[in-house]
Symmetry: C2
Subunit: 146 residues, 2 copies
Amino acid sequence: MKNRREKIQEILRNKEIRLTRQREAILEVIYEAERPVTATYIYSSLQETNPSLKLSTVYRNMHLFVGKGILRKLSLGIENNESYFELIRDEHHHHLICIHCNSVLPLDCPLGEFEEKIKEETAYTLIDHSVKIFGICPHCQKYSKA
Amino acid sequence: MKNRREKIQEILRNKEIRLTRQREAILEVIYEAERPVTATYIYSSLQETNPSLKLSTVYRNMHLFVGKGILRKLSLGIENNESYFELIRDEHHHHLICIHCNSVLPLDCPLGEFEEKIKEETAYTLIDHSVKIFGICPHCQKYSKA
DNA sequence: AGGCTACTTGCAAATCATTTGCATCTTTAG
DNA sequence: CTAAAGATGCAAATGATTTGCAAGTAGCCT
């Protein structure tokens, strides 16, 4: 039974990415979050334990991880223009976004037949798709009653 | 039978927006484009005819028009981080995006029952959603065979 | 037609997210 | 243990978008 740190190191080695303190720390934060996070979130989360970590290093590694297929970059279209990053786990899914607190939850994919239909109708080669649903989470519903 | 300029002026008046040379020109570009456009696209399109128009004015009016329900802002997640804006015409729809030429086609909405299900399962208040399908259009399929 | 007032614009500087150049440090293969 | 390749810190650059402020203009009221 491997602990998280070992699992992260294995992922990096499998992808032929050098192990650095920073990279391990970044991936730990992402694993722990269990939801898409921003570069700034990662940076802030690590300020206490890794005060020398720079935001540019976070961004550089986001790029690297996306390129290596470890992460996926999302453009959620939330008020700010920050990009979110999430682990590419096995299964295809989508996102439910709270427009108050910007938190993000995973959703199953409701397309499928729809894609077939589009493919026939338009003759496009379909490559990928994304579904985003915006709402207000139960927690924010309470606090925005004021 | 109204011409385009008159139609635009009517829209602005209906929304209680002051008529300015800049606003009319901006909306003309958007109407003519018949697809989502960026602020920079609008700005460039107007440099010849309205050389004094500033990009900040375009952005300010994009904001205004979105707020008044004339336009909708899209985050398409295309390589650059530019925002796209489209006219809010009649009905709710979605987008099929060609990843080669960045052209955008409208799609019918495939959600509906799915939203009901999500609402029950998560207790979120659902506000809006977006579906984007990425692919390669028939035209680009030919030219990318090379 | 002229004038007032509030709203707009141009302009320049600020801001925000993200990227990049460069010198210094660290990882890893031998 | 050591050198070379690659990574990081730092600071400055970039690109998109926003903002403060003074000057300009639309729309209303004589």
